[in-house]
């Protein structure tokens, strides 16, 4: 596969002239006075693994349930593959869902659970048998087809649920917190399996999750949701490295945030005056001169050095180490700056300390600094 082919495999990166598989236009859902989903727009392209990320009650599950047809839409429209879904009941939609609880039928064997969807479509018995066999091979559960769901481990049940939803070859597969019920180790392993399976079958996935790590590692693109609205939509890299708002910067990963005022705004750089120091950003952003703005810097993008003299100048400051959290592979330092603000710095423990003690420790005077490209401009 050449580089050119790859580009057409990812229509979401260059949406002009591409037809989205799912079009969500102005969709709103209200429960009495409570607005669960508030006038959202979203296009999802064929082959995507799209993640809806947000805290509990942000409306992500409601949106997923509207795609599946379990909830009616109060306003706006949902179109899947060119067909308006407003009059289409759940059982006629070209979507299948994998439930957070897996919702496996306890009175049916693994095999019957998977065959259930195909039987509803009146597919000939021999074809059902073949397709069930193939999908069981894909999730590596051939030896368990006669078992009941309650005779399987959590990871196996998760794979049965995935197989049952995939076997109908839906145009769109909806996954509600697919990994939440697994323990941590299995979850990491399954994350990659899930992405591999999606690539293999080529079905478009929409995944709801509250786990940002899961979203980052799975998604082609993701939407960060809060209070029924999208805060930002983009690739994991865009969301992490170029968050638009304080909410997104803080929700995805962690960020040290300083309030400031724009003092210089030209084509190739921006300067912001903050209480900590002047922040120089070496790329253009459209901001208003003199306007109030926030600057975010990720803990891992800050350099930490032991220093006797306080640092003066752009993109640097000094302080005292208040606390150290040793995580093994890296350490988190809480540095109290001269203005009293405490910032987080993470640094990899690259060298093995021979004295069994790390270079920087409690109450050390330190300087911090970062690259001109590292600071992120955030609106409220």
């Amino acid at each position: 596969m050449t580089a050119l082919d790859t580009a057409s495999d990812t229509p979401w990166l260059d949406p002009d002239g591409q037809t989205p598989l799912v079009q969500i236009k102005g969709v709103t859902k209200k429960y009495g006075d409570v607005t669960a989903v508030d006038n959202v727009d979203l296009d999802i392209y064929p082959g995507e693994l799209f993640c809806l990320l947000g805290g509990s009650g942000c409306g992500k599950s409601t949106l997923l349930r509207m795609l599946a047809g379990f909830e009616t839409v109060n306003g706006g429209s949902i179109t899947i593959d060119g067909v308006d879904m407003s009059e289409v009941p759940a059982y006629d939609r070209p979507t299948n869902m994998m439930f957070q609880s897996y919702a496996l039928f306890p009175h049916m064997s693994v095999e019957k659970n998977i065959a259930f969807g195909l039987q509803q479509d009146r597919i000939p018995k021999s074809e059902i048998k073949d397709r069930v066999h193939d999908i069981l091979a894909l999730v590596e559960l051939q030896d368990f087809k006669k078992r009941k769901p309650q005779q399987l481990s959590g990871g196996q049940r998760q794979r049965v649920a995935l197989a049952r939803a995939l076997v109908k070859e839906p145009k769109l597969l909806l996954l509600d917190e697919p990994l939440a019920a697994l323990d941590k180790k299995l979850r990491k392993q399954t994350q990659f399996e899930l992405a591999n399976i999606q690539e293999k079958v080529g079905v478009t996935f929409v995944v709801v999750t509250h786990d940002q790590e899961e979203a980052m590692s799975l998604a082609t693109r993701m939407a960060v949701m809060d209070a029924g609205r999208f805060k930002q939509i983009g690739t994991p890299t865009e969301i992490y490295e170029f968050p638009e708002s304080r909410f997104v910067a803080d929700f995805i990963g962690s960020a040290n945030i300083f309030e400031g005022r724009v003092t210089e705004d030209v084509a190739d750089h921006v300067r912001v005056k903050t209480e900590v120091c002047d922040v120089f950003i070496d790329h253009g952003e459209s901001v208003k001169m003199g306007s109030k703005i926030w600057v975010g810097i990720r803990p891992e993008k800050i350099r930490l050095t032991k220093a006797d003299k306080p640092a003066v100048g752009e993109n640097q400051a000094s302080g005292i180490v208040e606390d150290v959290g040793y995580l093994g592979e890296s350490s988190i330092y809480k540095v109290k700056l001269s203005n009293g603000q405490i910032i987080d710095v993470t640094a990899p423990n690259q060298l093995r300390p021979m004295s069994r003690q790390h270079g920087i420790t409690w109450d050390d005077h330190v300087n911090i600094s970062w690259e001109p490209s590292s600071a992120m401009l955030l609106n409220s």
Partner: protein
């Protein structure tokens, strides 16, 4: 101290159990009493059992009670389940709260009131339409259905709420139309609740004296009516024999239920072990 306390507990337990079971044991013992006067011991005998089995009156009462109980339980289960389904699975329809209240009302209504109102109802019906011309099997059955379906509805409602909607949504999502979801998922999952609802309605009907007395007519005696009317003229040993038979039947049912439950528990345990074996 420890020994003393445990002796105290043993005594309390014995007294408690005695309170429950001595009357029943007495009843059983006296049913084998030859003497015609209940508290006077006249030696062991099966005399009253023989008399019981030869009494056509008793057998027709048993048969009437059983027929009413079976028909009642079946109809009450069907209607009660529909009401339960409507309450839990049909969203917030108009008048849902009122409907819910009306479903449980028969549970708290004094039986005398239910019986009396049904009697008035049947008499009015008879005057208007000439039916029911005589009260008996049909009227008692209808009366029993009206109150026992409330119990079934509550049982089914609780079970449906506990089950959650995930499985039904999953079935719909996989392409099953509403009727198919009902028959392939909801009903099989409800089976235990349907069985216990049926048994509950069955027992309520067998047990009922008050409502049946109101809506029955001449010649239609259910078992409780028969027992009660005989007791009114004094304790009779053949009733003891009948009661002993009933206790025997109930004990058998309880034993069967216990065995079934024990088996289910063992199967669940086996499933859990199997699942644990699959965790790495």
């Amino acid at each position: 101290m420890q020994a003393k306390r445990s002796r105290f507990l043993t005594v309390m337990l014995t007294l408690g159990l005695a309170f429950f079971y001595v009357p029943m044991i007495l009843l059983v013992v006296y049913s084998f009493n030859y003497s015609k006067i209940v508290p006077v011991w006249g030696g062991w005998s099966l005399r009253w059992y023989k008399e019981l089995f030869e009494s056509r009156e008793v057998w027709s009462a048993v048969s009437l009670s059983l027929q009413i109980a079976v028909v009642n339980a079946t109809f009450a289960t069907i209607l009660g389940s529909l009401a339960g389904l409507a309450m839990v699975r049909f969203g917030r329809f108009k008048g849902r709260t009122l409907f819910g209240g009306m479903i449980v009302a028969p549970l708290v209504m004094p039986e005398v009131i239910t019986g009396l109102s049904l009697l008035v109802f049947f008499i009015t019906l008879n005057q208007l339409f000439g039916w029911p011309s005589e009260r008996g099997f049909a009227t008692i059955t209808i009366a029993h259905i009206t109150f026992s379906m409330a119990y079934v509805a509550v049982t089914i409602q609780a079970r449906l709420t506990g089950m959650g909607q995930d499985l039904e949504e999953a079935a719909a999502d996989l392409g099953a139309k509403p009727f198919k979801v009902l028959t392939a998922i909801t009903l099989p999952r409800l089976t235990p609740a349907l069985i216990s609802g049926w048994l509950l309605a069955f027992t309520l009907s067998l047990d009922d004296l008050v409502i049946a007395s109101f809506v029955t007519g001449p010649g239609a005696n259910t078992l409780p009516i028969l027992i009660f009317s005989r007791i009114r003229v004094g304790l009779r040993p053949d009733i003891n024999a009948l009661a002993t038979m009933i206790i025997l039947v109930i004990a058998l049912c309880v034993a069967v239920a216990a065995i079934l439950m024990f088996r289910q528990q063992r199967a669940d345990q086996r499933d859990r072990k199997m699942a644990e074996g699959e965790e790495h």
